[in-house]
Amino acid sequence: MGSDVFEISINFVKMVAIFLLMVNLVPMLVWVERRGSAFIQNRFGPNRVGPLGLIQLAADAIKFLFKEEFIPPKGNKALFLIAPIIALIPGAIAFCSIPLSVPIEISAFEMFGSQWGPYVFPFQSFEIGIGIVFVLGVSSLGAYSMLLAGFGSANKYSLYGALRASAQMISYELAMGLAIVGILIVYGTFDFAEMIAAQQGPLSIPLFEADHVVNKVLGILPNWGVFYQPVGFILLFVSVFAETNRLPFDLPEAESELVAGYHTEYGGIKMNMFYIGEYGHMMVASALIAVFYFGGYSLGTTLDTILVEGTIVPNMSALFASLLNLFGSGWEQSTNLINVVRAFVFHGIFMAKILLFLWIFVWVRWTLPRFRYDQLMDLGWKTMLPWALANTILTAFLMLFLR
């Protein structure tokens, strides 16, 4: 975690902060979901508590905490209680291993009479070289919480919901895993930061000329993965809906068939913890899509240079320095301050992309009807899996000539 006290404490604070960012985004997303569904269905939605109903989130959280605890007497108490806790962990760990911005470089400085630094803090809780493999492995552990909830509840609806959830998650994991292989061939790396670095520069499409390959640069478009892997993008995007148990694939909690699926017997904050896990998975999925296909925290080299580096970062760091000067002089626009501000600006860009995809999750949920279970399995095994295989082989075949 670090070599000295400063680094270790910063890394710990960073880890906790990213986890709390994830947890605190959940009520916001619930609000967006309720207001968004109301908007789509021509209703008002929650609009009484606070401006635009924003305080509703806090009210909900407090209400959930004060609910009576119910543990089904016939069920397995240990499994019942441990399932919502397990639901939190995979999403949190997966989200924390994704780089949310550029690393912060801090040059050496003096504090408390001793010399510190230089440091490089990556904008993620922990750097792990095998990025995608780790995220896929950890996030598929989410099936355990649903299975344990289903088995612990001693309720047939819960059990069927849990079985459906696990069968659906493992089926779509195949399509999802294969959809990513194409993008792995293109980038040749597992590491998220290297993938984002590979998407810098303008879009250049390799074209065949006589006996060699020419890279044709296409003006202003950024060099994003979606232009190289459009089929892979669609396949990944569809399969994450099934992985996160969202409509149109929310068969595990299909309320017309299974009451509430695997969390039928849960109430209060314990039910909410499943939602935190589900929204955490959605954030991970959105972040993965943004990293693989939409340049991660980068807006494309042109916009990055002109808008972010040229305008926003200097102005914001000047503003920030003057704000700090109100509390005590001696702050100036040092390189360290600029680096920190730049990291947070890129973080804002990345969060904007994640929120855009999260909005698409909400939008799809309130637009499309639910699939039937056999249709869901047919789509996964008989349609998406062959398409993903074809995409992989075609990508590999083209990369033979275009490397």
Partner: protein, 120 residues
């Protein structure tokens, strides 16, 4: 201090967070004596008939077995994809995987033909 340390620390932190929420909620919530009707599992208003040993359709086991076979095949593709352009083996690396994918497709067709994926 390996690279696993932060993961373990974070897991422990999240677990403590989750346990804390559950405990606080249990302490804050009202405690009432449960009536007999409240103790039975929720069955949409009908009298509870639930036994512990609920029978599970065999399709789910079959799906799990098929998943293990196919997922291992997918996992084999990851190192292949990672080294695809760097290995410098030309068409051989493609040909090797083409044979493997051929087997994969054969397995998938056989699986569909044997109606292992039919849900009714």
């Amino acid at each position: 201090m390996t690279s696993l340390t932060p993961i373990i620390v974070l897991t422990v932190f999240v677990a403590i967070f989750g346990v804390g929420i559950v405990v606080v909620s249990a302490l804050l919530g009202p405690k009432k004596n449960w009536t007999k009707a409240k103790k039975i599992p929720y069955e949409s208003g009908l009298p509870g008939q639930e036994r512990k040993e609920t029978k599970i359709p065999v399709k789910f086991y079959l799906t799990a077995i098929l998943f293990i076979v196919f997922d291992i095949e997918v996992v084999f593709m990851y190192p292949w994809a990672l080294t695809y352009t760097d290995a410098g083996l030309g068409g051989y690396i493609f040909g090797a995987m083409a044979v493997f994918v051929g087997l994969f497709i054969f397995g998938l067709i056989w699986e569909i033909k044997s109606k292992a994926l039919e849900w009714d």
